[in-house]
Symmetry: C2
Subunit: 191 residues, 2 copies
């Protein structure tokens, strides 16, 4: 028996990502977004959706670039804070004691303390309604050496990522490994 929750923006998992940009004054800023995800493999693209009222929206429109800093649980409180105040009147990097690192590939800063960074140049801007979707071409992904496995892949158990659950508004850490993609499905069907 399913219960209707209405036409609401409910899904899981949704990301809690820090979108980095430089504003008109050249100040580095971050804002937290949960509306986003990878959206194309070739060219490699990632989308983030922002309201036009945000300080970051104008910054991305002007510089056609953004970064996504993917935090670990160590940055969960900072991530929540970056979604509560505006870069219009707060230097969030300073308030949070985080390091703004200038990307060498796109005109935007990222959070040095975050373990995984995606650097994006804006490819499309889609006006969807309350939110504008920025589709960014991924120019590089950078990871802390400490979160890589022996094959050079990001190891989620080392990275300690987390997710945001809308509705209940809970942050939840990633937990136990379930298994390998394109593999565990073989056992799902009778042979």
């Amino acid at each position: 028996m399913k219960i209707s929750l209405g036409a609401e923006t409910l899904a899981a998992p949704t990301p809690a990502w820090l979108v980095g940009s430089y504003d008109a004054a050249g100040a580095p800023n971050i804002m937290t977004i949960a509306w986003g995800g990878i959206c194309c493999s070739k060219p490699p693209c990632l989308a983030v959706s922002l309201r036009a009222a945000t300080h970051t929206h104008g910054a991305i429109m002007a510089r056609r670039a953004f970064t996504v800093s993917i935090p670990s649980v160590a940055q969960a409180a900072a991530t929540d804070y970056a979604g509560m105040v505006s870069g219009k009147n707060t230097d969030k990097f300073a308030a949070l004691g985080l390091t703004a690192v200038k990307s060498e590939l796109v005109d935007a800063p990222y959070v040095g303390e975050c373990p995984l960074i995606v650097e994006c140049a804006v490819l499309h801007v889609f006006e969807l309604g309350l939110h504008t979707q920025f589709v960014g071409e991924i120019k590089d992904v950078k990871a802390d050496a400490a979160i890589l496995d022996e094959k050079g892949h990001v190891d989620p158990q080392k990275a300690r990522f987390f997710t945001y659950i809308p509705g209940a508004r809970r942050y939840v850490a990633l937990g136990a490994d379930i298994g390998q993609g394109f593999s565990i499905g073989k056992a799902a069907v009778a042979g």
Copy 2:
């Protein structure tokens, strides 16, 4: 010290969602996607990206509708399987012993066994490259009563959702609760 991983589709968390559709013959089908997310609050919209070569791509183009069935760890192997074979030549619902439930709101089926369902009518179709992004307006969200908390919100600890990590290609269960959104950030800055 950050290590460059190249211009790759790497991010975390990414979803492992089952996209439901009816094909030209009226057969219900599901496919697994990791490229997607909520993309607008008003109208409420969710985006999924599919390659044109997939059976589901043609089905969504024709019926302008899809569902997203969000699985729990109990459906992890089935979710992996639904990403390994094509609906062109396999009845995945039958092979997996899953129940195709006809949506009353959009022209697409969903997976009865999944705890959270999002029903979408196509609002935009964006050709991004290898992938087409379908932006669907959310017409309703349905949840199993068993995953709701006392306030009627989806409780991730009850729902036992999981995520997919590209690169390493691991499925990872959601784990420990970290805290409340728009709350834990207050402790991130000096008073």
